[in-house]
């Protein structure tokens, strides 16, 4: 069993409006894969399908050999203990200190004595370089620090799969590099599998093993970072080089300009 996540021919949409149309995607153990695409193309929806928060209309999502769409609540919760997720803006519990945020899952799911929890939490915090911030409240953290705490929290129970929803959004270049590095390093040292959803091409191409490009609900391109950089596909070229116009048009669909301005009438 080499593939931890296997998505086969998945279609999903909210009342008739399709968001994903026939997606195939696999993540092998120990890899960092990236799902890229412009905003609103259904990347986050993919993560929610893997986490079992929504079920596909057709097709199947397998995580660690289990079909996520067919699990009952108990089975799903069991499976989720092996998953970690980093939400877009961290989603730290604002009424708890950094320490309690990371201890949260340990206290909920295990019967570990408080001294051991303390040691484990400090180890996780040390891994993201924030051991000194244990007693701060989330409101006292900068955006980059909050993201690192959330990262520490998502690996609190040593999951085998960690998903990152836009881990680079809204970060300064230094924090961005730190987070990117952490994702790579934690994946390698803890033997995780990571799925990064992002639109930050340059940063993610540095750290990932495999890339999927999603556009308008279908996978447009896939490959290793090298292949992507050399790719001649116009969509990928536009995306990687950040060109304003191309296959993804600058203009929202509209009547012709001349017609809208009533020229010549």
């Amino acid at each position: 069993m080499d593939n931890l996540v296997e998505i086969q021919d998945v279609t999903f949409g909210y009342n008739e409006r399709p968001i994903l149309k026939g997606i195939n995607l696999t993540a092998r153990r120990g890899q960092v894969i990236a799902i890229m695409g412009s905003s609103g193309c259904g990347k986050t929806t993919l993560l929610r399908l893997i986490g079992g928060q929504i079920k596909p209309n057709s097709g199947s999502v397998h995580v660690a050999g289990q079909n996520v769409g067919e699990l009952d609540t108990a089975g799903l919760y069991e499976l989720r203990r092996k998953m970690g997720m980093l939400f877009q803006f961290g989603a730290l519990f604002t009424d708890m200190s950094v320490f309690d945020n990371i201890a949260f899952q340990m206290r909920e799911h295990t019967r570990l004595p408080e001294e051991i929890i303390r040691d484990l939490v400090l180890m996780k915090l040390h891994a993201v370089g924030l051991r000194g911030a244990a007693d701060l409240m989330p409101s006292e953290l900068s955006g980059g620090m909050a993201r690192r705490v959330a990262l520490a929290r998502s690996i609190a129970l040593e999951p085998s799969l960690v998903m990152y929803d836009e881990p680079f959004a809204g970060l300064d270049p230094i924090s961005l590099g730190v987070i990117g590095n952490l994702i790579r390093r934690l994946t390698d040292t803890l033997g995780l599998t990571s799925i990064v959803v992002t639109h930050d091409v340059q940063e993610s191409l540095k750290i990932v093993d495999y890339v999927y490009f999603v556009s308008a609900g279908v996978i447009e391109a896939e490959g290793t970072p090298e292949e992507i950089r050399r790719s001649g596909l116009p969509f990928v070229h536009q995306f990687v080089h950040g060109e304003p116009d191309g296959p993804v048009p600058f203009h929202y669909p509209a009547r012709s300009y001349a017609e809208d301005l009533r020229l010549g009438s």
Partner: protein, 264 residues
């Protein structure tokens, strides 16, 4: 479609939406009850929420109770004096507070102080994906976040209402006996002779428990159902205060009709 027809169609759609929302709220309420086990096994969770719902509402409840009681004392004295029965001031103050004003005004204050806070908190937790994060951590937010707040509200409300009434009676005593000079003995003895433990005090407590259930259930649902935006949360907060105030008053009428029918 012609305009009046469109109006009817819209009215029908709105009604259906409203009914569906009530159904959703009912399901949410029963889910809360069903998932209350964790909250009672880990009572610390409830205690934390009693602090933010009950203890933090104390000041407003005590001060309002005192003033309401003092006003009752003044107004009651003015009216009773006309009939030469100032000695019944204690009865008037105590009965109005214990039966009606205590449970109702305390509940209205609780709705705007604690109810709105609960909605805003849950709504923000939803908007910042904290609830989704919890779900992804295989922790049921209804059991971990909603149920403890519900029981904390239900437990706090009768205590707050009792404190409100006690404070109000003290206020009435201050104005009536200390300030105006109504006879202290008749103030208390008439009160004791006329206020019945079961009919008045116990019914008042039952009322406040019912109000506590209604307010927290509404506040929690509005928060949980709020659109995850700043505007959505602020509107949900407003709706909590408006809806629970109306529900309190309507329930008060129904309960009063049931409880005090045939008595007095």
């Amino acid at each position: 479609m012609i305009a009046p027809l469109r109006l009817v169609a819209r009215l029908g759609r709105r009604t259906l939406q409203a009914v569906a929302r009530i159904g959703l709220a009912t399901r949410f309420f029963f889910a809360t009850l069903l998932h209350s086990g964790t909250a009672f096994r880990r009572f610390g969770l409830i205690i934390r929420e009693i602090y933010s719902a009950g203890v933090l509402s104390l000041i407003i409840i005590l001060v309002s109770g005192l003033f309401v009681g003092m006003v009752l004392g003044l107004q009651g004295f003015e009216t009773l004096q006309t009939y030469g029965s100032e000695s019944a001031l204690g009865v008037l103050v105590a009965l109005s507070l214990v039966r009606e004003l205590g449970p109702v005004v305390a509940a209205l204050l609780f709705a705007s102080r604690a109810g709105s806070a609960i909605t805003a908190e849950i709504g923000l937790m939803k908007a910042t994906e904290q609830l989704a994060a919890m779900e992804m951590m295989a922790v049921d937010p209804v059991a971990r976040v909603v149920a403890p707040r519900f029981w904390a509200g239900v437990l706090s409300m009768p205590l707050l209402a009792a404190l409100f009434s006690a404070m109000g009676i003290f206020g009435g005593y201050l104005v009536g006996v200390v300030l105006i000079g109504v006879d202290e003995g008749s103030f208390w003895s008439q009160m004791q002779a006329q206020v019945d433990f079961e009919e008045d005090i116990l019914n008042g407590v039952i009322k406040s428990v019912v109000f506590g259930v209604a307010i927290t259930a509404i506040a929690l649902f509005e928060g949980y159902d709020a659109p995850p935006t700043a505007e959505g949360v602020s509107r949900a907060t407003t709706r909590t205060v408006v809806t629970s105030s109306l529900v309190i008053l309507a329930l008060d009428f129904v309960l009063t009709a049931f409880m005090f029918r045939g008595v007095s």
